[in-house]
Assembly symmetry: C2
Homo-oligomer: 307 residues x 2
């Protein structure tokens, strides 16, 4: 089944201890789409400016990603510049130029009406809600958000959470949404706000999925996927969106929506995030094979597997 | 086989968001010994003052711990006071009274000469080295340290590391020893300094064991054990020493010293740490059963186990 992502396409200027790149293709929808494309058909809804050329379009075409939902407007594409210091866990933003993204109003092409799996990238929660409400055939919705929306658009975010089956965020965001410093308690609280499952990402320590009692299977035990200890992280940009792409892409490729599928999806999310950070921008995500992905999935399994 | 721990016995005054206790039995050797006692015979080398009474001795006797190496001196036992704020990851020390611990010179009773497994708790690295060098029958040595020794006694610590088979520390300590902000790179460096294996503890995210190429088995792949998401951490004091006790105690109970044993030991370390934090001080560690421990071991396995 195909998965639709709504989010940003951007040109990023990134500096890390390993080097620097200028105006490389990025954005949440881009990383998500490339990562998900190794598992299933992917559709995109985003907006770009007239600086988005055939060479950028080609990146998606090569991965057979459906770009009919990428709207072209006069002006420049969203641009972001940032740098990572030694610990690589946190980006310092140098500049944000929203450009055409400032007035982004997601337009769903009629050909996307049969979409069953939807991912609401990190955009204004009111827009996330509008997309979801327009697409009444969707069977499973994942979403992301960030501190800006959590702190300044809380009411809108709480409405949007009611429309998501799974929320994928990091630990600090989960604690901020729940106003709760303990992650397991924050998770329990968020699971009363709408989502039946919550994925919290711990950076270099992996991710945990928490289930609402009885959702997708029996019980309420959480499940953890490790992250690979990586000696050389070149560029952390897009790791979270690549995680979401691997997670949602794998789910959309499966017939059932069971806990076992969600657990494996958590591992595939970690796998795609680990590839993303090995090179600058989307470079590594453009040239993978499914065999490489499944090979690393096995490495992730063995990382915590007792005989 | 029995395991010998050298470290501190203390009386702790602890405040956490869950409450406060005064002068409860603690110290690195205490937590280690109680945790290890569920796996194998335990011997202790430590020093106490004349405020250490039969009721404290009884805590060890009940767990059949050999206390012949606990030296009694005139004066007061080591006392520590500290508090944990909301996040529970870091203790703020209120006071430290070394008392009889200030002139601790570990005395190994002759009956301990046949010890095969040794754990050097977090004390002066020169004392750690002296103990190890005195015990030439020891087959496997684990050790701990902390930032105070890493920063101010680096030369002594580097000598002592050469005598350890496995070092158990947290991520920040590993990075400080190696002068290296990337954990996997720090681990690789430490594995050239003496230990054949390095355990780094990630607090609520579990622990990783790194192996020197070819040590205890084939290859150099690390292995991760998760930590249980615990809603109510009552008191984090002693979690690391309890981890070490579970880890070393399990190893000492096994016939082989293989990677598979070390991996299982990493899980048992996490299990014992997770019990320790459920109650104040050593309360939970005093009253466990092996069935409870193995039950939680299964929960840890299932936490990351794919079908």
């Amino acid at each position: 089944m195909s998965v639709l992502v709504v989010g940003s396409v951007a040109f990023d200027t990134i500096a890390t201890p390993s080097g620097r790149v200028e105006n490389v293709l990025g954005g949440s929808a881009t990383y998500f789409a490339l990562a998900a494309s190794y598992f299933t058909e992917v559709r995109m809804v985003a907006v770009v400016g007239d600086d988005f050329g055939p060479e950028h379009e080609e990146v998606f075409k090569k991965r057979k990603i459906d770009t009919r939902g990428i709207e072209r407007q006069n002006g420049k594409t969203f641009r972001w510049g940032g740098r990572y210091l030694e610990n690589l866990n946190e980006a310092k933003t140098d500049f944000t130029e929203l450009n055409v993204f400032e007035r982004f109003q997601p337009q769903i092409p009629p050909e996307y009406a049969d979409t069953k799996f939807l991912f609401l990238g990190n955009i204004d929660p009111s827009l996330q809600a509008a997309v979801k409400l327009e697409m009444d055939g969707v069977r499973f919705t994942g979403g992301d958000t960030m501190n800006y929306w959590i702190n300044d658009f809380r009411a809108e975010l709480l409405e949007t959470l009611k429309l998501m089956n799974v929320l994928l965020i990091n630990d600090a965001e989960a604690k901020a949404i729940a106003h709760e410093p303990s992650l397991p308690r924050a998770a329990r609280k968020i699971l009363t706000m709408g989502p039946q499952a919550l994925v919290t990402k711990h950076g270099e320590y992996g991710a945990t999925i928490f289930f609402r009692e009885g959702a997708f299977g029996i019980g309420s035990h959480p499940f953890r996927a490790p992250a690979l200890p990586i000696e050389e992280v070149k560029d952390p940009t897009g790791a979270g969106d690549s995680f979401a792409g691997g997670f949602m892409g794998y789910i959309a490729s499966q017939e059932q929506l069971s806990r076992e599928v969600l657990k494996r999806a958590l591992f595939y999310g970690g796998v795609m995030g680990s590839f993303a950070v090995e090179r600058f921008g989307t470079e590594r995500l453009q040239s993978l094979t499914r065999a490489e992905i499944d090979g690393r999935f096995q490495v992730f399994r063995e990382l915590t597997h007792l005989e």
